[in-house]
Symmetry: C2
Subunit: 400 residues, 2 copies
C-alpha cells in the first residue's frame, strides 16, 4: 500500500522500524513458526487487549513493563499464541525473555514478549531456541531487517505491514512501525500486533497517552470479524535520540503511522477482497458516531453485499438503525464513493435510484461508505473489509 | 424437524396454526413474491424489532394493535420489506389492511400487516392485489392451509416452519405457530416473523407478558448473523374458545412452541449446515450467562470452525473472554456434545487432548457447546448455526 502523507510536514520514508535511529532487528519464518527480535529503545508504552483471558506472553510483558516502563528488546513468535497454557505458559514466556536478556546482557524486565497463533498449545521451546540461535547474530538496522520482522510475525496475513515517516520541523524526528493483523480483528483490538519505534524523547507517561489517543482512532476502529483476541498489543518505544520534540507534532505523526498500519490490517483482513472505509457524519455524540461506524463494519450482511458489489444500501441503513446511535429516518443520507466517483443512494430517508453507478463503485478495491445521521456535528471514521468465501475457507481450516 | 415433547402433557400435533379452532388461512408464493392471509382471533399481543428504523408495515401494525389490541386478520407479504419507503410505505400498508378489512367486513384496525424481503423498495400493489384475489376465497382450516402460509412467508428459508401442540390437562387447549427466519437473525430478533395462535382465552395483558417471557428465552436467544432487521415481529393471537386455562400451563406450552420455532430458524440460518446449541452454566448472573451464549453464537471464528468440524476450542474460550461475562480462566470448563457423545476439551482452564473425538462430534448436524464459567449458579441456552460458503453466496447475491 502506498502512503501519501496528508500533511506536508509528514514525509513517508523507507525502512519500517529500522528507519528509527537506534533500532536493530532480525526475523525468521519457517512454515507456521516465525521469530522476530527487535532491540534498542528506552521508555515504552503499551496498549493491549481487553479480553478477560490474556495470553501468558502478554501477562509477562505487562509485568515487565509495569516494573520500570522500559523496553530494551522485544521478542515475538508466530504460530503459537501461548494462551490458555497456565503456569507452563508463564514459565516459558519468562524463559524466552531470559534467553534474550542473557544474549544482550540486559535486565530480564526490559525484554518484552508477544505471541500470535493458535490458542491452547504451549510454546515449542526447541523451535524457539533454534530460531533464536539463527537470528541472534543477524541483528542490524537495514530496511531488510525491518521487513524480516514484519514477515516473521505474519500468521494469515498475506503481506508484511510496515510504515515509516519523517516529521520535519524545527527538530525533525522519525516514527516507524510494523504490524500484523488478519483475523480476530475487532474494535478494541484483536490478534493484532504492532511495534512502533520513534527517536523522539518522551517519558513513559507522555508516550502512553499519545499511544492511547492514536490507537483509539486507528486500530480500535478496525473491524475484520468482531472477535477480540487474547494476545493483542500495540507497543510504542522511544530510542531517545531526539530531544525537544513538540508533543502535538509527535501526536500527528503517531496518528498517521497508526492509521496507515490500521488500514493495512483492514485491507488484509482474512479473505478480504476490498478495503471498506466508513465515515459517519452528523452524529449527536462522538460515541454515537463510533457505534454507527462499528455496526456497519461488523455487519456480515453489509460485508457480503460489498463482496458481491451489491448496492444493497438497506443493510447499511439497517445496521445504523440497530447501532444504538441516535438517527432520524427522514434525515439519513448515505453515499458510496470510490476511485474519485461518488453517488448518493439514500437522501432524507428516501432511496435514490442509482444502483447502476453504485454497483460500479462497489467493483473498486477501496470503497467508502459515508453516512450522515442528521443528528448533530460529530464524526468518526473506521476501516474493515468484505466477507468472502476465502474468509470461511481460512477459518474452517485454520488448525486442521 | 421432529418435535419430541419434553413434558408428557404437551403433545405435538399436526396442522400448524390451523390446528387451533377458529383459524383459517391461505397462502400463495410465486417466485420471490408471496402473500399469506390468516383470519380468526381476538385478543392479541406482539413483540417486535428494537431497530430504530421500523418498516412501514410494522408501524401500521403497531398503530392498529395499539388502538384496540385485537387481531381479526393478518396479511403477510414476502419479497419486499416495505422499509425505508416513507409516506408511500405507510399509505400502501394501510391500503392492504383496508383491502382485507373490506373483504372480511371487519374494522381496518383489527387487520395487521407484516412484510419481509428487500429493504428500500415499495410494495408492488398490483402484485399484492392479484395475489390477494387468488387467495381470498381459499381461506380454510386444513393443515395444508397452514403449510401454504408457512411457505408464502419464506424468503431465503429452505423449509417451511410450523409447530402445533395440544396441552392436555383439566381443560385442554392448543397453540400453533408458523415462522420464517434465515437471515438478519440476531438477539432481539431480526428478519424473523412468527404468527402464533391459541384457542385459550386470555386478555391482551396476559398474552403480552406470556409472549415477552417466551420470546426472551427462544427467539431472542437465536443468532444467525448478528444483524437485527427492521421488520421482525412475533404475534400471538387468541381465538378465544377455551376458558379457564391456567396461565402457568399456557406459559409452558407457549415456551415450547417458541423454542421449537426458534430452533428451526437457527438450523435453517442462511447457508447453515449445522445447528449449534450453546449452554452456559455456572454464570454469576443470568445476564452474564446470556452474554456468553450470544458471544459464542455470534463469533464468526467459532462459526467457521464448526463449519469445518475443527475443534478449535480456543475460539470458544476467547469469545467467552470478551463477552463481558465474569469468568475465571482456572475455572473454565468446555464440553462438546452431539448424538449422545460428549467430550470435555477444556477443564479448569487446561486443554485436554481429545481433538480426535471432538472433531468426530463436530461432524454431526446438531452440535452442543456446554461451557461452565465457574462463577455462580445461573444458566442460559441459545441457538445458532455455522458460517459456510453458502452464507456468503446467498448474501453476496441477494438483490442482484
Amino acid at each position: 500500500m502506498k502512503i501519501i502523507p496528508k500533511e506536508s510536514k509528514i514525509k513517508s520514508i523507507k525502512g519500517g522500524i529500522c528507519a528509527v535511529e537506534g533500532v536493530k532487528a532480525a526475523g525468521i519464518k519457517k512454515g507456521k513458526h516465525g521469530l522476530a527480535l527487535i532491540t534498542g529503545g528506552g521508555s515504552a508504552a503499551c496498549v493491549c487487549t481487553k479480553n478477560q483471558f490474556k495470553s501468558a506472553s502478554l501477562l509477562v510483558t505487562k509485568k515487565h513493563l509495569k516494573a520500570d516502563k522500559v523496553c530494551n528488546a522485544v521478542i515475538v513468535n508466530s504460530g503459537c499464541a501461548n494462551a490458555f497454557t497456565g503456569d507452563d505458559g508463564i514459565h516459558n514466556a519468562k524463559e524466552v525473555c531470559k534467553l534474550v536478556a542473557n544474549h544482550l546482557n540486559i535486565p530480564d524486565e526490559t525484554v518484552l514478549i508477544a505471541s500470535t497463533g493458535v490458542i491452547g498449545t504451549k510454546l515449542d521451546m526447541k523451535i524457539i531456541l533454534r530460531e533464536f540461535n539463527q537470528i541472534k547474530e543477524k541483528l542490524n538496522s537495514s530496511p531488510e531487517a525491518s521487513r524480516a520482522v514484519a514477515e516473521a510475525i505474519m500468521t494469515t496475513d498475506t503481506y508484511p505491514k510496515e510504515v515509516a515517516v519523517e516529521i520535519k520541523g524545527l527538530d525533525s524526528f522519525r516514527i516507524g512501525g510494523v504490524a500484523k493483523g488478519a483475523g480476530m480483528i475487532a474494535p478494541d483490538m484483536a490478534t493484532m500486533l504492532a511495534f512502533i519505534y520513534t527517536d523522539a524523547i518522551f517519558d513513559h507517561k507522555t508516550l502512553q497517552s499519545a499511544l492511547k489517543e492514536a490507537v483509539d482512532r486507528s486500530f480500535n476502529m478496525v473491524v475484520v470479524d468482531g472477535d477480540m483476541s487474547t494476545n493483542d498489543m500495540v507497543l510504542l518505544v522511544s530510542t531517545e535520540k531526539k530531544s525537544g520534540i513538540e508533543s502535538e507534532e509527535f501526536q500527528k505523526g503517531l496518528n498517521y503511522v497508526c492509521e496507515n498500519l490500521a488500514k493495512m490490517i483492514a485491507s488484509d483482513g482474512e479473505g478480504a477482497t476490498k478495503l471498506i472505509e466508513v465515515v459517519i457524519k452528523g452524529a449527536a455524540t462522538k460515541k454515537d458516531a463510533n457505534k454507527a461506524v462499528k455496526a456497519i463494519l461488523k455487519s456480515p450482511l453489509v460485508k457480503t453485499a460489498i463482496f458481491g458489489a451489491d448496492p444493497n444500501w438497506g443493510r447499511i441503513a439497517c445496521a445504523i438503525g440497530y447501532s444504538g446511535a441516535k438517527v432520524r429516518e427522514d434525515h439519513l443520507r448515505i453515499e458510496l464513493s470510490a476511485a474519485g466517483s461518488k453517488v448518493c443512494i439514500l437522501n432524507k430517508g428516501s432511496a435514490i435510484d442509482a444502483s447502476e453507478l453504485a454497483a460500479k463503485i462497489l467493483q473498486e478495491k477501496k470503497v467508502m461508505i459515508i453516512a450522515d445521521l442528521g443528528s448533530g456535528g460529530e464524526e468518526a471514521k473506521g476501516w474493515g473489509c468484505d466477507l468472502s468465501y476465502e474468509y470461511v475457507r481460512i477459518n474452517a481450516e485454520y488448525t486442521s
